[in-house]
């Protein structure tokens, strides 16, 4: 038994959106000087995967479609404990929307690791927050998809996995059983990530654990990748204007406060008497 083969697709994100400005003319993100880092929620996904590896053996492989500079944040995943990392990088992949990206990830995983057991995603990215990727990859690969996962147990001999998911709004846990392989996305407030290890970071560098692959090797359909494979059109970007609030504060008896609030809301036409 070789244990589990777990693939964790990851993405670079800008650290916090407030530090990024929009170019007033082109409306593009001004990425100048903004350091790319591992999407924070992908760390929780990686932790989820590493815990399964710790328990059941096998290996954890991270994969990302990114420009060559993506090597740095993939080294972080090795630092956390991934066994190896693959950087899918080619000009042909540039300009991809979520559809073309999910195609690239799905087909790359299929080609590179046909025998994988789990594809583990973060819940969403902090900078674009679409959460499209795991569902779209599940669709390309025609595999089951479970999201908001917080924990899992595996029966290796039967290739079965029991995934526990947490539904935040309801405050309930559910457990589902699947035959592997499946696609999992991990609840963002679970599985706090482990620290980056010095030895692993050194090994990532000296043993070249981050490998780059281009489309000459992958041979993915040109029509389905990059800008050509991306039907999304950004028609317009608008800055949301901050709403001026009236900021009135009532001090005093709670009953009177409630009455005062209601009177004012009626006066403003927010509620009808």
């Amino acid at each position: 038994m070789g244990g589990l083969t777990i693939i964790v697709p990851v993405k670079a994100a800008v650290p916090n959106v407030t530090a990024v400005r929009l170019d007033p003319v082109t409306h593009n993100l001004v990425r100048e000087g903004v350091p790319l880092m591992l999407n924070p929620y992908d760390r929780n996904a990686l932790e989820f995967a590493l815990r399964l590896k710790d328990k059941y053996g096998g290996k954890v492989i991270t994969i990302s479609m990114a420009p060559p500079s993506g090597k740095d944040f993939l080294e972080s995943t090795i630092g956390m404990g991934a066994d190896e990392a693959y950087l899918i990088t080619d000009r042909a992949f540039a300009g991809a929307d979520t559809l073309a990206t999910s195609y690239t990830i799905a087909k790359s995983v299929q080609k590179l690791f046909p025998d994988f057991d789990l594809l583990v995603f973060g819940e969403e990215t902090t900078d674009s927050t679409t959460a499209h990727m795991p569902a779209q990859v599940a669709s390309w690969l025609n595999l089951p998809y479970v999201y908001y996962a917080v924990d899992a147990e595996v029966k290796l001999e039967d290739r079965l996995i029991l995934v526990t998911r947490y539904l935040e709004d309801e405050g309930v846990y559910e457990t589902y059983e699947y035959k592997m392989p499946i696609i999992v996305s991990v609840y963002k407030n679970s599985n706090p990530p482990r620290d980056v290890s010095l030895v692993r970071k050194v090994e990532a560098k000296i043993n070249g654990l981050v490998k780059s692959i281009d489309n000459n090797a992958l041979k993915l359909e040109r029509e389905c990748i990059g800008l050509r494979g991306s039907p999304t059109i950004v028609a317009k970007i608008e800055d949301a204007k901050p709403i001026e609030r009236k900021k009135q504060i009532f001090k005093g008896d709670p009953k009177e406060a409630a009455k005062w609030l209601l009177d004012n809301l009626i006066k403003e036409g927010v509620v009808k008497p």
Binding site: G33, P35, M37, D72, E75, S76, G79, D195, V196, S197, L198, V199, K201, V202, E203, A204, K205, I206
Partner: protein, 425 residues
């Protein structure tokens, strides 16, 4: 025993990366460990680099280094609430002596140099402490991981936690450091050129004293970059206790001073940062700059020359890194990395500008910490000139105006302080 390198460098800043590049290019197996997400992401400085060390190390820097502007204009201002007196130095020749820069970018550039020389630079890992066996430093520890090496170069910066935790330096005290708080403000190239009377690649370095720190020892600075200015205040921490408003408001009061307000008009804040800086030179050095299996460089060694008007950190850091590398090579040739073999580092420092200049200005901080310089004198000169220029029919000579405005200062104070400043700076 795990991983082993010839040399481990703690900290990928100007000192550490220079040492690493020098050693890697001579065939040493070098590891640099950085706590930031990438080299440069935790570095902050005022804004200017003196280029003389680069002539030796990287002569190609004029084309390659991330230079913002070459300093052609220097200003020193004594500032009160409502007036200021400025000494303004300009030269028509841009002599490539010093340039403004972002330390983040500059360190990234040094990192490329070190990595292309063959050094292994890993980031995202703070080193916790040194591994010391039988009194000899044999490696570093970070979390549960250990890495061994023949010699460790400590370039961890001003907050020398590794040295402290390893028992090699006492805790920093407020007298040894100043706090710098900085705002990076975006302005257009044209606005900067116009407001500071500069051409495209020309820069200005400006220090101000008095009002910016509410007359406490310290000062303010403004440096021009290509499309931003950096504006900051520096406060000697031993006087921090006397501050009458929070430090984050102090920098705002400076920015909102009527004279400064017009300079930053229409600007946009890009970043708000803070960092400590050594102000006591060799007086802040750890008890020993080298020992069995280790060397100390850069800010961690107190290698920053602070003369109030001239502040030099990066060139001292880089030179000390270069000399540490030279010492390691020499010790390697002798076959030992014990304290005796590494003592060559001390000699090299003494012969270089690092210790020659720091020792020349050994007492500078004792003069600069004199509160009168930032309060009485700043007020006096402004009041004196104001009176002198106020023409109201009363005959005034400079000398008598001085006597009128010197306030509580005695002539003896003036003379003594003048001598102290002249002798020590």
């Amino acid at each position: 025993m795990g991983l082993k390198f010839d040399v481990t460098v703690v900290g990928a800043g100007p000192a550490g990366l220079t040492a690493a590049q020098q050693l890697a290019s001579k065939g040493f197996k070098v590891l640099v460990i950085e706590r930031g997400k990438k080299p440069g992401s935790k570095n902050v400085f005022g804004g200017r680099i003196y280029a003389h060390v680069l002539d030796k190390l990287y002569p190609e820097y004029v084309k390659e280094a991330p230079v913002e502007r070459w300093v052609r204009r220097e200003r020193i201002t004594m500032m009160t609430e409502d007036s200021w007196t400025t000494l303004d130095f300009e030269t028509t020749k841009v002599e490539h002596r010093s340039f403004t820069a972002y330390l983040t970018n500059f360190v990234e550039w040094l990192d490329k140099k070190a990595e292309s020389a063959g050094a292994v630079v890993v980031s995202e890992v703070p080193v916790d402490k040194l591994i010391i066996k039988d009194g000899k430093v044999v490696g570093v520890r970070a979390g549960n991981d250990e890495i061994y090496s023949d010699v460790t170069i400590i370039a961890e910066g001003i907050n020398r936690l590794v040295l402290e935790r390893s028992g090699l330096a006492p805790k920093l005290s407020p007298e040894l450091v100043a706090l710098g708080v900085k705002e990076v403000i975006k302005l257009s190239r044209e606005e900067i050129n116009e407001r500071f009377n500069l051409d495209d690649d020309e820069g200005m370095a400006w220090v101000l004293a008095g009002y910016p720190t509410h007359y406490l020892p310290g000062g303010a600075f403004i440096y021009t970059n290509k499309e931003a200015i950096t504006l900051g205040i520096v406060l000697y921490l031993s006087y921090g206790y006397q501050l009458d408003i929070p430090i984050n408001e102090l920098i705002e009061e400076f920015r909102l001073h009527p004279m400064i307000k017009r300079i930053v008009k229409g600007g946009q804040l890009l970043e708000y940062s803070a960092h400590l800086t050594p102000v006591a030179g060799v007086n802040a050095s750890p008890p020993s700059l080298y020992g069995d299996g280790y060397l100390v460089t850069g800010d961690a060694a107190g290698f920053l020359l602070h003369l109030g008007i001239i502040i030099r950190g990066v060139d001292f850091a880089m030179e000390s890194g270069r000399l540490a590398a030279e010492a390691v090579v020499k010790a390697h040739d002798s076959g030992k990395y014990d304290k005796e073999s590494l003592s060559i580092y001390g000699k090299l420092l003494e012969e270089s500008f690092v210790l020659r200049e720091l020792k020349t200005f050994r007492n500078a901080h004792k003069v600069l910490i004199e509160p009168r310089l930032y309060s009485d004198y700043v007020r006096m000169i402004n009041t004196m000139l104001k009176r002198y220029f106020e023409v109201d029919g009363t005959p005034r000579k400079l000398g008598s105006t001085l006597l009128e405005t010197k306030g509580n200062l005695t002539l003896l104070d003036l003379a003594k302080d003048a001598i102290r400043v002249v002798m020590n700076l």
